[in-house]
Each structure stands twice: as C-alpha cells, then as structure tokens.
C-alpha cells in the first residue's frame, strides 16, 4: 500500500512536470491535432491539378477530343498551349508544367485511315514517383479514348479486356492508407515528447539522484515515468482516431479491441524506447539527439510513406526492430480490411518484446549512466 501511494505521488509529480507549464501543455496537446489535419490533407499520392502543357500540331478532331479529355480530368490542369518545340524545355525546366503532351502533325488523319498514332508525353522526372503516377493517369485517359474510338469507328473490339478491381479501397484513395498511418506517427511523436526527455531533464537538474536515494525502487520510478506517457498517448490516440473516422471519413471496419490492444503495446514499446534513451543521457541536448536518432529512422523504415517490400533484404531485417512497423499494419488493416486478431497476431508479440526489453533496459540505466 505504501509503495502504491509513493508511486501515485510520483505519477502526479510527472504529470505536473509535463502539464503545469502553459507552453508545455500547448506543445503536448495542440500539435498532434493540427498536424493530423494538415498532414491528412498533405500526405497523398493522388494527383490533383497537376499542371501540364499541350503542344498540338494536329488540327484534327482526334487531337481535340484527346486534349479535351486531359482538360476534363480532375488530375490535370492545362496551363499553356505551346506553339513550337523550343518552348517545351523551358516550361518543364522551370516547373511551370510537370508534363507536356505532344501530338504530332497527322495524328487524326492516320487514325481516320485506320492507322496508329503515337503521342509523346514528356514528364519532369525530378520527382520520379509523381512522374510514374502521371504516366499511369495519362495511359488511363488514352485507354478510354482508344476504347471509344474503336467502338465508334467500327474497328471491332480488342481480343481481350483488362478488368481491374481494387479490394478494400475501391477508389484507391491514398488518403485511406495514409491517414490511419498518421495515428501511428503522431502517437509515437507524442510519446517520445513525453518520455525521451524526462530522465535526462532530472539528471541535468540533479533531482534524479535525489529520486534514486528515496525508498522508491527503479521499477517504481519506471512505472511513475511510464504512466503519464501511456495516459497521454492513449488520450491523444483516441482523439486522433475519432478525427480519422469523423473528419476524414475513413471507414473503420475492424475491432476496437484489437486496435486498442495494439495501441497499448505500441505505446509501451515507444515509452520503453523513450525512457531508455532518456536514462542513457546526462543532458537534455543528448536526449534530444537520441530521440531524433530513433524517431527519424523509425518513421522512415516503418512503411509509412514507402513500402517495406521495396527495401533491400538487410534493411527489411532492421525494420523488425521498429515498433511502428507493426502498429502501422495493425491500424491500417483494422481500418480497411477489418482484419481479426488471428491475422494480426504476428504484429502483436514483437511489440511486447520490444517494450519489455527497453523498459528493463531503462530501469537498469537509471543507476548505470552511460555518459
């Protein structure tokens, strides 16, 4: 009982340390909400209003029809009609247009006489992912054009059709993929803000030594330092979750129990890492560096923006150490696929292990400073 009340006192003190300062309160509460909204809209691989220019040397109806289709597409905005091919280079160089559609002279005539016509698409490859996506959109438009042209001109049908359907995300909205990912991203950031500095700050101020000579055992200190992170992480995670469903209207098809068990394990792993970093450091500057040395690779290797399958095998192995990797799978598949516990089980236990190991290490480092 005595131990419990001592730990309670420590927890209260930790909360006060985090929240008594108005600036500190703002930092913990405001940014995750603002960032969810901003990033939720910003982080998309869908193309909208991509600027393009047309260099049309063909006066025929096929070219006009084709250009009209490009103009009508939500993905593209026509910004210029070029008159000569010398204008192509500067408009792409200066990023005034991300691609130029070039229709050569006799396109319509060739098509009308039953022949073929090749249109040139010149794409700015400085962002090669955008370039590939642009090409996909372009091909899609041309494919539709071809379908209608062959049908309207009695050229028969293609020997087979390609019938594409996307599962779990029928319109392939990348927002549905990214926004649930932001839940994982921001929970990690908040947890690190709360934990990665907490021990280092007391070390720097000298109060940590005082804490160590109290009857509190390292485990008690660990609990006292971990609980605020867990509470704040759960609170903000819930808030972000609500915004994802209510504001961004991403359908949640899974089980809340599965998601929350995942969230708790994820937060424990993040808290463990944060506290471990903090207890290894003797100044806040070091802890800040340590925090970033974990946070940045953790985000980049998690599969948040670039798929893990694209990474080379060695790097893929490193990602197994990253708790965010597991929680991302849980949160995304819970949202879109409604995945159940047995499908996701392999994402749970690694986070539990990471959490246990790092929490134990943190407690050990309380009394064994590294630097």
């Amino acid at each position: 009982m005595r131990v419990m009340s001592r730990i309670m006192a420590l927890i209260v003190k930790e909360f006060l340390a985090l929240l008594k300062d108005r600036k500190g309160r703002l930092v913990i509460i405001l940014p995750p909400i603002a960032q969810l909204i901003v990033f939720g809209y910003a982080a998309t691989f869908d193309l909208n209003h991509v600027k393009f220019a047309v260099f049309n040397e063909d006066r025929g109806i096929a070219a006009r029809d084709l250009i009209a289709r490009f103009e009508g597409s939500k993905a593209f905005d026509l910004v210029a009609n070029l008159q000569s091919d010398q204008q192509i280079t500067p408009i792409i160089d200066n990023r005034d247009a991300l691609f130029v559609l070039h229709i050569g002279q006799d396109c319509t005539r060739k098509l009308l006489s039953g022949g073929q016509c090749t249109v040139q698409v010149l794409v700015d490859g400085r962002n090669s992912n955008t370039a590939l996506l642009i090409l996909n959109y372009v091909r899609e438009i041309i494919y539709r054009f071809n379908e209608e042209w062959t049908a309207n001109h009695g050229l028969g049908t293609l020997p087979s059709r390609l019938d594409i359907r996307a599962w779990f995300n029928p319109n392939l909205e990348s927002r549905w993929f990214i926004v649930p990912g932001i839940i994982a991203l921001l929970s990690l950031v908040v947890t690190l803000i709360v934990t990665s500095l907490s021990v280092a700050r007391e070390r720097e101020a000298g109060t940590f030594d005082q804490l160590l000579v109290t009857p509190l055992r390292p485990v008690d200190i660990l609990v006292g330092k971990a609980v605020p992170g867990l509470v704040i992480g759960l609170f903000e995670g819930t808030f972000i979750l609500l915004l994802t469903v209510l504001w961004f209207r991403v359908p949640f098809t899974g089980s809340l129990l599965v998601l929350y068990s995942g969230l708790v394990l994820y937060l424990m792993a993040a808290i463990g890492i944060g506290l471990m970093i903090s207890s290894m450091c003797s100044t806040q500057q070091q802890a800040l560096l340590g925090g970033f040395l974990f946070l940045v690779p953790a985000v980049i290797l998690s599969g948040f923006a670039t798929p893990i399958e694209n990474m080379p095998p060695v790097v893929q192995k490193i990602t197994y150490l990253d708790p965010m990797r597991y929680f991302l799978v849980i949160v995304r598949r819970s949202f879109l696929e409604g995945a159940s516990l047995d499908v996701l089980f392999n994402q749970f236990w690694p986070m539990a292990i990471i959490g246990l190991v790092t929490l134990a290490a943190a407690a050990w480092f309380f009394r064994h400073k590294v630097y």
């Binding site: 600036k23 500190g24 930092v27 901003v38 809209y41 910003a42 998309t44 691989f45 909208n48 991509v50 160089d93 990023r95 098509l111 073929q116 040139q120 698409v121 010149l122 794409v123 490859g125 400085r126 962002n127 090669s128 992912n129 370039a131 590939l132 090409l135 041309i142 054009f145 071809n146 042209w149 062959t150 020997p159 087979s160 059709r161 390609l162 996307a166 995300n169 029928p170 993929f177 690190l192 803000i193 500095l197 720097e204 100044t283 806040q284 500057q285 070091q286 802890a287 800040l288 560096l289 970033f292 946070l295 985000v299 980049i300 670039t306 694209n310 990474m311 790097v315 995304r332 598949r333």
Partner: protein
C-alpha cells in the same frame, strides 16, 4: 573582439558535449545510409497470384509475360479462393484471374475479360501494379496479334520520356530530399537548446551585465554552429554523390550558396524556439514537433505539393525546407535553373531575416 571571445566560449561548449558534433556528423550519415539504401518507391518483384482455370497456349503466353517482367513474382494458384486467401494474408499484392471459358471466348472473339484484383490498402503501390499489369497485357496483345497475323489496332499509343531521371530511380530524388530533412534537423537541433540553456542556468543574466550586445550574442550563437552545420552538409553532399551516385548537374557553388542560406534559416528557427521557450525541456519538445515531420511531409520531398488542397499549399510556404527541396532537386537532377533558384533563395533569405529579427527583438527586451 568581444564577439571573438564569445564565439570561442561557444566553441568550447560544443567540444565539451560531443552531442553537437554527433548531430552534425553522425546524424547525417545514419539518415543518408537508411534513406539511400532503404527507401525506395520503385516497386519491383511484387508477389502476385496467377489463377488460370484452364491452361492453354493463349493463357501460357500471357502468363509468361509476368515471369519475364522484373516487376513481378507470379505465384500459380489453382482456385480463386486460394488466391483470395493469400491476398488476405498479404502474401500477394494482387491476383490475375483467367476464367475457365477464356480460351473459348477468345477464339470466338468475344473479348473475354482478364481480371486483375489488387489489394488497394496501399493505394500508391496498387496504382503502380495496375500500370505494370497493363504493360504486360498490352505486350501480350501485340505479340499475340502479330503471331496470328492479326494487325492489332490500338489507335493512340503513348510514347514517353522521363526527363532528368530517365531510369526512374527514386533514389535520385529521395537522396537530395533527405538532405533537406537532415539540414533542418542539424540546424534546429544544434541551436534549439542553446539560448534556453543559458536562461535555465542563469548564465543569460550573467551575460546581461556584461557589455556584450544582443547582436553579438546572436552572432556568437550562430557562427560556430553554422560552421558545424556546413561540415554536415559537405559530408551529406559527398555521400550522395560518391556512395549513391546521384547525378550532380548544377553547379556546386550555387548548391553551396543555397545550402548556407537554408542552414541559416534552420539555425534561426532553432534559436527562435530556444528564445521563445526559455526552458530546454519545452524547447526540445517544440523542436521534435516542428522540425522533422513538417520537413518530411510538407516540403514536397515525398508528397507532391501541387496536389495538396490550397490551404495546405499555403501552409507549406511557412516551411523553409519546401524552398530548399525545390532547389536541391533541380540542382542535382536538372542543372542551374535560375527561375527556380532565385525565388526560392529569396524566400529563404526572408525567412532568415524574419527569424533573426524576432530573436533580436526578444533578446533585446530582456536586456533592457
């Protein structure tokens, strides 16, 4: 003279706590290695299930296209149920399905469907897979048509060229982009705590009673960290060129110039955080929140800014990294394009002046 002494004191502090040196030299190396080797948007060797309910010469030829393609690892499955189960378990990213009556309808010229079911959870990868499958399919149509003496009529074809990065290596644009993230972190992390630390330890008050001016304090805080940060930049630059073979088509001087402008802006941002927060704890928290994620998501380095809704595009103008990413991508991949360089450089200068202006005002107030 006074400034010299102050710079010396800051330099000594840097040397005593190796974490600053680690920020400038260890952080960039680790991040570049992870990014350069680890991160790629080039989907290759995608596992895909292939279900052919009734194999025949037509279907074999079609499937062979997948085996030849470097983008796919086809896995043969007997039933669509089996394939769907594999997709649910995330063992394959898509399913190509040729139904039983495919060959019969094909010969009757009924234009039978080839179904492609992709896992849409990762919409970006799904779209890339669609594009690749279409490529395989069009190839097959053409080849098959030629062999059977049918002149296949695909009226409009797309010829394309991707400028600046013809082999579409995503590393070529990700590595310059990560330099912007690294420089943001270096700049802000180096200085985020330095003024707050002086306030916290009471040495700021001590400094106030000396004749040193606010301008000298700010300069003294910037100069040593600027040198350190530029060291970090040089290191990142060399790693990008020599280890990752990113082409360098612009002039080095222009890149160096814009990098120093950006570093000044980042250092300014760090000092501003430090000045406003006045406690290291809050300054550190703020810098975790405002540096990495905005530079990662809002700079145009991974996500295309022009595709964002306009209010968000307006917000991206507040992120210094946005201007730097634009300069970096052009300087590495395209060359010296003044129409891109000048407006972005001006924006960086304005941001630096803005940051330093506020710091100056806030520091002077306290000196009064």
């Amino acid at each position: 003279m006074r400034l010299k002494g102050f710079v010396k004191k800051e330099t000594l502090q840097i040397i005593r706590d190796p974490s600053s040196i680690a920020i400038a030299f260890v952080l960039p190396i680790i991040l570049l290695l992870i990014f350069g080797y680890g991160v790629s948007l080039d989907a290759k060797r995608i596992p895909i299930a292939v279900v052919v309910e009734k194999p025949g010469p037509e279907t074999n030829q079609f499937i062979a296209g997948f085996r030849r393609s470097e983008y796919f690892i086809p896995k043969h499955m007997r039933t669509i149920q089996e394939a769907m189960k594999a997709m649910k378990k995330a063992q394959v990213n898509g399913v190509v399905w040729l139904r039983e009556n495919f060959a019969r309808e094909y010969h009757r010229k009924d234009s039978p469907p080839i179904s492609l079911l992709v896992n849409g959870v990762d919409a970006n990868t799904a779209k890339i897979i669609e594009g690749y499958v279409q490529g395989v399919w069009l190839n097959w149509l053409e080849q098959h048509g030629l062999q059977n003496g049918i002149h296949l009529k695909i009226p409009v074809q797309v010829g394309y060229r991707i400028w600046y990065n013809p082999e579409v290596r995503s590393r070529n644009y990700l590595v310059p982009g990560i330099i912007a993230v690294i420089m943001t972190l270096i700049g802000a992390l180096l200085t985020a705590l330095v003024i707050a630390r002086e306030w916290e330890r009471g040495t700021m008050e001590a400094m106030l009673v000396t004749p040193i001016t606010a301008r000298e304090i700010i300069l003294g805080k910037i100069i040593p960290y600027f040198i350190l940060g530029m060291g970090g930049f040089m290191l990142s630059f060399l790693v990008s060129i020599f280890l990752f073979n990113v082409p360098m088509r612009g002039s080095f001087l222009l890149l160096l110039g814009s990098s120093s402008l950006f570093l000044l802006a980042s250092l300014g941002m760090g000092l501003l955080i430090s000045t406003l927060a006045k406690s290291q704890f809050v300054a550190a928290q703020v810098s975790i929140v405002v540096t990495f994620l905005p530079a990662f998501i809002l700079s145009g380095f991974i996500f295309e800014i022009s595709s964002m809704p306009w209010p968000i595009q307006a917000i991206t103008h507040l992120i210094p990294a946005r201007y730097y990413v634009s300069i970096l991508q052009s300087a590495f991949l395209a060359g010296d394009i003044w129409k891109i360089f000048i407006p972005n450089a001006v924006a960086l200068i304005l941001m630096t002046i803005f940051f330093i202006g506020i710091i100056h005002k806030k520091t002077r107030k306290r000196l009064d």
